[in-house]
Symmetry: C2
Subunit: 445 residues, 2 copies
């Protein structure tokens, strides 16, 4: 098999929501209160919703920039590559990258729809659920619906109510959506933990509907910004491994013994640490279960439970690929992370192929598309002949896509590099600036 | 090579300080204020120092118990296996386990002497440094000195003053001690971070004296006790990986470019995650350095910096051993963790040997003794002929050591298992109980 013959399906990309997304799905009653994108006097665009403003921050939409300009946060829609928010352009960018399918996480609402959750907490539950359903409908019907076979729809949960979560899981399943987000540390968002029965109506619905629960990094566990003097690389390097704790909590929780059909995906967690993780949890179980009295059904080991229920993914992870037998090659998937700063776009095939040296075709197919089609109820070949799904076939359709990096596209720079390199403190200042100018001056325009 | 031919040196064990340790090393002026072990009315022993009581907590001294009784915290000296606190018994236990050499971390003072640091912070600097030096003198001269060749001495730093730290490094180096503890997250103990120049006098002295800085898990980063409903396994399984953050901070800090001779050991961190870690830090560096402007001397990669300066260790870690080429086989060391609950004592050779299947003799020797003798200025063969240092030779000297587990040795049980298994909340209650009864009633006896 050659690089060009791979079929690539990414289980972790991101959509920057387009300004017109609320036009067709919000009930008339709430139309005026839908989030809207406004231009501020400083030329930046922010979303405004119920008195909150949500700027673009966090290296979230840097695809198509030169690495020198990654830190220059885009602050206006015009500074983004259109593939960030326009689905036709997105498919073009996927084609140019040889990527067949994509599962896209939200940006403005937060990974688990916290934007709406805050409204529910403030007593505006009806508004919150209306907006959340509108978001999911837009995502499923428009973003994913326009190009059949190219997207795996991913719903947001009404995180403030497990009963509503269960209902939403069933509602979107009827529309063909079998993936939904959840938090790696719900306690970090003010909700009960993974060890609470609180979430049972949600798990029940997901197990019933064959809906994969997708837990993205940074969805409850905060990023490590504790030391303003640390190079920002400390935060970036350490974020994926934060899912180690979530993985441990899941395995030792009662969730999988109560809901044996449940599948949970760890999004952007990487895989190279999983062999160590599995060995560690088995070691701890063997050493301690006689006094803790904690056990697993049918004498299973915690590593068995993990492999049965948890789906992993990686961007570029040679050590993980080398040790795929220890992880479980039937649950490893791949991701591109477009348009975030860790993405390998537009050279994903080349980057991935280098990590796959010596791997048998059978295992490559499992990791790049077979596992994801099986586990996520995703059948692209219903819409696109398989021979049209390869890296080469897709790239052949992308001759018109301009991959030239945009130079000087603009954006807000980290405020200063007093140490000579970007520190956590510099990036905190950048983020604080993004929130500090009043949005209402923009609204008046 | 056979299992019996291995030479085992452990870079992470623990001493539970014996009651008479302060008798010979505290200056006359401070004699009355030395910590002392007192018996409380409930039959437990606690250390008392300047109004603080320090009980035994944290699965810290469970060697020789049945796994069923690990959770029964020993609360009196008589409930401990004598090898925990008596050096002759300790050497017997090492022999029974086929272990030649051991580096022992403290218990009562905390990993970086926080017990003394709190006195310094309270204005009792003279008392603090006197006690700290007495501790180090006892550890070097008595604990390590009585059985030449069997211990690698490890000093505690006067963490409240980098200048005093530098002086102590030089003082103990003159006594032959070339290892000292430090915190994985000094900020968590109220001190400046690893990215501060504050610590330069300490790094300078360590680099000058060839002193290895040993950073143990739990020395600043707190254990994950955030969710009282979580099985306690979540906390136990996740503790070693907390050093991932410290490793990242070290590599991206300015420390190694300023002190090229400095060596730092990550104690009880495990090694199976290191291949992923090294790949991740290189990936982040390559993706981001053009905008962060963070670089390394001579175009090195962060993984190069790690392998040059950081020493890793493992208890039982088959995935790490399999991937030792990715880690760097010249910096991997081994540990036993006696008498803590993760220890493989008294079956360390058998446990380790199973992980070493297929590993060439050359690599086994590096990981089990050659790296540690080279990196820690440790020369056991000056005192003991090499043929007397093997697993078989040492075990032959331990025929008298009784390895029968102590049944019903006593101790404090976790307060309740409301969920049917031990949770974080149960263990927090156990620890709180250990601190709650007043020590002064014991002092009066």
């Amino acid at each position: 098999m050659k690089m060009d013959d791979m079929i690539l399906v990414s289980v972790d990309d991101h959509v920057c929501e387009p300004p017109d997304m609320w036009e067709r799905h919000v009930p008339a009653k709430w139309k005026d209160r839908a989030p809207r994108l406004v231009r501020k006097p400083d030329g930046s665009d922010v979303w405004v919703f119920e008195g909150q403003q949500i700027p673009n921050v966090g290296l979230n939409a840097v695809a198509g920039r030169r690495p020198e300009e990654y830190g220059m946060e885009p602050t206006a829609l015009s500074q983004l590559r259109p593939g960030c928010y326009d689905v036709d352009a997105r498919v073009g960018d996927m084609n140019a990258n040889g990527v067949l399918g994509s599962l896209c996480f939200p940006t403005v609402p937060g990974f688990v729809g916290e934007l709406f959750g805050r409204q529910a907490a403030a007593g505006n539950g009806e508004l919150a659920i209306a907006m959340l359903r509108a978001y999911n409908d837009w995502h499923i019907d428009e973003w994913c619906g326009k190009h059949p076979g190219r997207f795996i729809p991913l719903a947001l949960p009404p995180i403030w109510s497990p009963e509503l979560m269960g209902e939403e899981v069933r509602r979107v399943a009827r529309k063909g959506c079998h993936a939904i987000t959840f938090a790696d540390n719900p306690g970090g968002l003010g909700h009960p933990s993974l060890h609470s029965e609180h979430w049972d109506p949600f798990w029940t619905a997901c197990a019933d509907e064959g809906t994969v629960v997708c837990i993205h990094i940074g969805s409850g566990t905060r990023m490590n910004l504790q030391d303003p003097g640390a190079p920002i690389e400390v935060m970036i390097a350490g974020t994926p491994i934060t899912l180690f704790n979530c993985a441990t909590e899941l395995v030792f929780s009662d969730i999988f013994s109560k809901f044996p059909a449940l599948k949970i995906a760890l999004s952007e967690g990487g895989i190279g640490w999983i062999p160590y993780f599995l060995e560690r949890i088995d070691y701890v179980h063997r050493h301690h279960h006689r006094w803790t009295l904690h056990g697993f059904p049918n004498g299973k080991l915690p590593s068995d439970v993990f492999r049965e229920h948890v789906i992993t993914c990686f961007i570029d992870d040679a050590a993980g690929v080398r040790n795929r037998d220890l992880i479980g090659v039937d649950t490893i998937t791949w991701e591109c992370d477009y348009p975030h700063s860790d993405s390998t776009w537009p050279k994903a095939p080349e980057t991935l192929w280098a990590s796959l040296a010596g791997v048998p075709d059978e295992d490559i197919h499992k990791m790049t598309w077979q596992n994801v089609t099986r586990l996520f109820s995703y059948d692209p070949f219903k819409h696109i002949p398989k021979e049209g799904c390869t890296v080469a076939a897709l790239r052949a359709q992308a001759k018109h896509v301009d991959l030239t990096p945009r130079v000087g596209a603009g954006g807000k720079a980290p405020s200063d590099y007093a140490k000579g390199y970007a520190t956590v403190g510099d990036i905190i200042k950048q983020m604080a600036n993004a929130f500090s100018t009043p949005f209402d001056s923009g609204e008046r325009k």
